[in-house]
Point group: C2
Chain length 301, copies 2
């Protein structure tokens, strides 16, 4: 099976589970149909489901099945999709298209997009607290703690705030490579790091494995961001499914604009090798994750 087929299988399994969870936990008598429709729009509108894939594959390193990891994967995707619904709002990035479809606020309106995001974030923690996520409540509590840290003021939300401060507030100092690297490690890196750490957490593996997978997640997150910046420079809107060249048009410094294209490409190759090296102890169980590192470096969308 090719890597893309593996990624697609994980995506289908995640979407099936997300639809089940929405039906069981949200779309009940007496709920707001507008809200649940907007949650569906935000959650089930395509996407590579790369973070759920990382959850499933990091769990597979320790012998866990897809079913053992699927609820954690679904919870993480709820957080990712809520963040897109909020980031696309006019007051934030003001995006009207996402994955070739209208963003949530364009399909509904701003208040619905704000509430749908709030409800998806809340749903993520409800899912993690379910006994189906893990039989041991101490593992569930650890997942809640780690996802909250990765998503909150010192993680994703904090990174988005630093990014918008730099973009919107004119009295800010120009961005350096260090400051962009810092904000990106919060804004996009923290969730990818959580995804990779969730496998050893679910498997109750030794701390050494967890540290190793967290480092793998850091490396993947850094590579993901560089390749995202490269797509903004080199991709077409048709391939990427959203507006491109936005950063340059906004005069926004990125990792790639500060490093230069050549240095960015050689950093990517270096990160690919580091990622693959970190997986060495897991032998053939890590084959698909190693392919993921190569995929991130070479992705076109």
């Amino acid at each position: 099976m090719t890597f893309v087929q593996n990624l697609d299988l994980a995506a289908r399994a995640t979407e099936t589970r997300l639809a089940e969870l929405l039906a069981a936990l949200v779309s009940l008598d007496g709920s707001s149909r507008r809200l649940t429709a907007a949650m569906h729009h935000a959650l089930l509108g395509g996407g590579k489901r790369f973070r759920p894939f990382l959850v499933i594959e990091s769990a597979a390193l320790f012998g866990l099945s897809e079913g053992d990891a699927i609820d954690t994967a679904a919870a993480l995707e709820c957080v990712h999709c809520y963040s897109l619904a909020h980031d696309d709002l006019p007051a934030m990035d003001n995006d009207i298209m996402r994955r070739g479809r209208p963003t949530v606020w364009r399909a509904y309106d701003e208040w619905t997009a704000i509430l749908a995001g709030d409800a998806l974030l809340t749903l993520a923690f409800e899912i993690l607290a379910l006994p189906t996520t893990h039989a041991d409540p101490s593992v569930r509590a650890t997942l809640v703690m780690e996802l909250a840290k990765a998503s909150g003021a010192l993680g994703m939300v904090g990174g988005q705030s630093l990014d918008l401060e730099a973009e919107k507030l004119s009295d800010q100092a120009p961005q350096s490579l260090t400051s962009i690297r810092h904000l990106q490690s919060m804004k996009t890196g923290a969730l990818i790091r959580f995804a990779c750490a969730s496998g050893p957490i679910l498997a109750q593996a030794p701390d050494e494995d967890r540290r190793r997978l967290e480092r793998f997640g850091d490396v993947m997150g850094f590579a993901f961001q560089i390749s995202d910046d490269l797509l903004d420079v080199e991709g077409t809107a048709e391939e990427v499914g959203k507006a491109v060249a936005k950063d340059a048009a906004a005069g926004k410094a990125t990792l790639v604009s500060l490093m230069g294209l050549d240095a960015a490409r050689s950093k990517l190759a270096e990160l690919e090798q580091e990622a693959i090296g970190l997986l060495a102890p897991y032998g053939s169980r890590a084959a698909t994750l190693a392919e993921a590192a190569t995929f991130v470096v070479n992705r076109r969308s």
Copy 2:
């Protein structure tokens, strides 16, 4: 000690703990200072802290100390304050004053208010996952589950969505007493119900106690809503600390406009008696909670 003094003591203890938690979990090197300042503004700008008080007093029924309940109280207040920061946004209720101070989006801007709300919601679950919330991780997982349900699409957020649908979408049927009661039990009742249920959850008390306290929470939530509507009709902006008579100006149906003033006042008295009756098994330990029921019925702010 008078009831108001008891309420104030719980408020001060909650605020002290919230400030400690913000310092320990959010305001660290590398965080977004704008975001953390906005979180402080949203969280530490006054308020009666009625929900934290209910957590502390419902725990006291079962012999738990204030310290045993304070983290749960703090987490719940994070959810309440996030919901105010988002509800006040221009796209939602468009409020500029709250507790006599500018709302978060007026003090900062819209994107900062959205992110500060997101970060406070996330922080609530991080707090519940802390070992200081409860030594037993199964209790922490239950608190996460129950707070998520109370806050999400079938709770607070769902109620806010139903409310805004009725207000903003002209093709909606006029609101009936039943539909308003339903949406209010989600929008404001669910968190109050959680507050009252958290005591027996923290104490790992029998199911019968939990059901009794949930019913007490339902009754208190209903009474709270009627008294809130009465304040909107009868209070002054100075007393209440925010705009009043907004509902009537917006032509918005409320429990009080549909029931009439006299029926609303007599319903309040009935709810007060039911609430006090539910506390009978707890004897003198319930004295302060019983006073809370009387307070809600007679509050002027």
